[in-house]
Symmetry: C2
Subunit: 197 residues, 2 copies
Amino acid sequence: MGIIERRERLKKQVRSDIVKTAKEIAREDGWQAVSIRKIADVIEYSPPILYEYFESKDKLLETIRAEGFAALRDEFERIKHVYRQPEKQLAEIAQCIWNFSVEQPEVFQVMFNLEGAYCQSKQVYIQEMNIIKNPVWEMIATLRPKSGEMVTKTYYEWWCLTYGFISITMTTQPRHAIPHAEPIYMEGVRRFIRSVM
Amino acid sequence: MGIIERRERLKKQVRSDIVKTAKEIAREDGWQAVSIRKIADVIEYSPPILYEYFESKDKLLETIRAEGFAALRDEFERIKHVYRQPEKQLAEIAQCIWNFSVEQPEVFQVMFNLEGAYCQSKQVYIQEMNIIKNPVWEMIATLRPKSGEMVTKTYYEWWCLTYGFISITMTTQPRHAIPHAEPIYMEGVRRFIRSVM
DNA sequence: AATAAAGGTTAACAGCGTTTGGAAAGCCCA
DNA sequence: TGGGCTTTCCAAACGCTGTTAACCTTTATT
């Protein structure tokens, strides 16, 4: 019975089309411009259909957020296995986050509720920033022997630096000026790493 | 002619009532719940009246943002005159920002577009973060003799640390856990100041 | 072929920011 | 005191939004 399979494939296709369309509209006109009706228009379905794939608009955003964090986390794991020294790993991760924010700003915006992207349900966000089995946390712990509590503090500061820098840059700098901010960011990251070692 | 004066007083009163009501609703139910119609309901006017005081909802938010930044800046100036040592000044300023975010979270949210508060016009924000005549910038410059460019970089990192810490805390931590985060924040700030000196 | 199920749409609800047109009230001058 | 004018104010509407209910039409099963 290939019919059922075909239908499931179609379902997955439509679902990913919805996500893709939401991102496209957001990239073009900002998240404020993303509406259920506009997405429905693009995928050539009526608005109620979207509710067969996503419980609500908020859940759609949460899906995009979760996918974004998952993609980042995969990259983190890759870096962890490619490089040995934790200071190198952390620098690579910082670079990786920066690149992500430049290449997929609309996803980054949903992940951190920036620029009018607002996803109310925070479970994914909170969980993802958590220290449990977190590659970044582990790298900081490897950087220099210290207590778990101390590592957590440093980990927290790491995120403040990273998230703070990128989000401030994203919201205050015009698009053309962003490449100029990258070396300043990376330099700050390196100094931070040195200060912790 | 006291009549005109009375009317102007009334106008100012209504205007500040609008701002006050917006903040109250936001504090109670979040910025997502703030609507022109609800504000109108509370101040016992019809919705169109609000447009005699504010060009748009966005401009209302921008006013609240500007007032928030102005209040902070006043505090900064006060600190600047009370304390001599720049490291003490900066620590006091960090404490001041933290207190502000705890005492008036709804204003802080508008100032930095957090938690569903979204003010599109960024002029005030960009200008306020600027280095021109900025007390924080000057304090960092006094901290240790260095080039203007170097000061600007440090100033930028200062804001990442401060803003990053508070906004991450605000969005991830439940209300009761926030006091617990304060010493971690202040310790991070002090370490940052030491690392720059 | 008749019946059940799935897929999809139209229309509506309640709410939003914002604008228009006109009513009511207050004021000034004769 | 009455008429005209200005100011103050609001009901209603427009075009959006997320979401739901009811219905129709196509597809699959018995």
